[in-house]
């Protein structure tokens, strides 16, 4: 996944798009090492010392990793699932609508 996400961030650099992570490693040092080793270019929340059982994954009812949720400019959910390619297509479609002057593709 890392290379796909990295190039997505690069490609969308000048667009109204943000890739935000919720890192679910228990140990934040491990997450930071992954960021350094893989040159990850996006900002992540840390889910806390309980990792996958931390408050953010719990509040979002996440049960499998990775899970991707795509939100439009108004915070409305357009995709939730595990398919990086499908999520990317949805996100690019929304960015296209935003750029065309829509309100973020909200329903």
């Amino acid at each position: 996944m890392y290379p796909h996400e990295r190039s997505l961030v690069d490609e969308m650099k000048d667009k109204p798009f943000a890739l935000i992570g919720v890192n679910s490693d228990k140990d934040v040092a491990r997450a930071k090492k992954a960021v350094a080793d893989n040159e990850l270019n996006w900002r992540s929340f840390h889910a806390g010392p309980d990792g996958t059982r931390g408050p953010i994954p719990k509040a979002w009812a996440i049960q499998g990793w990775p899970t991707i949720v795509v939100l439009d400019g108004e915070g409305r959910i357009h995709y939730r699932g595990h398919d990086g390619d499908a999520a990317t297509a949805v996100a690019k479609g929304l960015v296209g609508k935003l750029a065309a002057g829509g309100a973020g593709g909200g329903k």
Binding site: P16, N23, K32, H46, I56, W65, I68, L71
Partner: protein, 260 residues
């Protein structure tokens, strides 16, 4: 959404196998079958114990190698219990009733991946109503991966007709899970699946099944397409506070990830 990663399925099968070692597992009622079952259980225990001894030794070696900066040895392969599974299936076929057959079939499913299709088919065909069959209910949702896409629907259909509320509940859940995840929430398809699942959860007694159904519906209705996502107020990996709502106005690709 209830998913398992690729490594989780062998793990689940392994734990089904390990569960054979723990009471209260159903055991055959007739003395002859019970004796045969106990012999297979002993053999299984021996294989697992041997593996655990080996695995512990390798883990200790790996720990030492890591400290010394040397290459880490590979973990030993999981024990091959397929022969044991085949014997269990043979015993199940000879059994005269469900009380004798189902324990052998549960053992066969856990021990012999390649033979799991035949064991599952027999379980569905003859013993879908049996109390002990509920123990593998959770696996009904994973039938396509255990027995293959081609054979799964026919086997799953047997469990849907089960008179045991937990067996039937797991099968109905497997049948409708995708609909709950993806169908249009206003559609008759979604509404029908939802009411059937709620009914199945009410009738079921297994807590894991009840929770799984409730979670699947909740997840969809709170986090399905069209809902406004809750905000996240947290801190980044350097401890700097920020909020998801800081990114309003942009499309957000929110990625729950971990480096494991």
């Amino acid at each position: 959404m209830r998913t398992i990663t690729t490594w989780a399925l062998p793990l689940m099968l392994a734990s089904a196998l390990a569960a054979q070692q723990r009471p209260p597992q159903p055991t055959p009622k007739s003395p002859a079958a019970a004796e045969r079952y106990a012999a297979l259980q002993d053999e299984q225990k021996k294989l697992i114990d041997e593996y655990m001894t080996k695995a512990k030794a390798v883990m200790a070696e790996a720990e030492a190698a890591k400290k010394a900066g040397k290459p880490i040895p590979a973990m030993p392969m999981r024990p091959d219990t397929s022969a044991l599974g085949k014997q269990a299936l043979a015993a199940a076929k000879e059994a005269s009733d469900g009380d004798d057959a189902v324990p052998f079939l549960l053992m066969a499913i856990g021990a012999d991946r390649a033979g799991a299709a035949e064991s599952f088919a027999l379980l569905g065909e003859k013993y879908a109503d049996h109390e002990a069959t509920a123990q593998v209910g959770r696996l009904i949702g994973f039938l396509p991966r255990i027995v293959g896409e081609d054979k799964a629907p026919a086997i799953a259909a047997k469990f849907v007709k089960s008179r045991h509320p937990d067996v039937r509940g797991w099968a109905v859940f497997a049948q409708h899970e995708k609909t709950i995840e993806t169908a249009d929430r206003e559609s008759d398809l979604y509404q029908g699946a939802k009411s059937e699942l709620i009914k199945a959860a009410e009738l079921a007694s297994n807590a894991e099944l009840k929770d799984s159904i409730r979670e699947a519906i909740d997840t969809r209705e709170k986090f399905g397409a069209g809902n406004v996502a809750p905000d996240i107020e947290g801190a980044d990996l350097d401890g700097v506070a920020f909020k998801l709502s800081d990114y309003r106005g942009k499309v957000v690709f929110l990625d729950f990830w971990g480096d494991w």
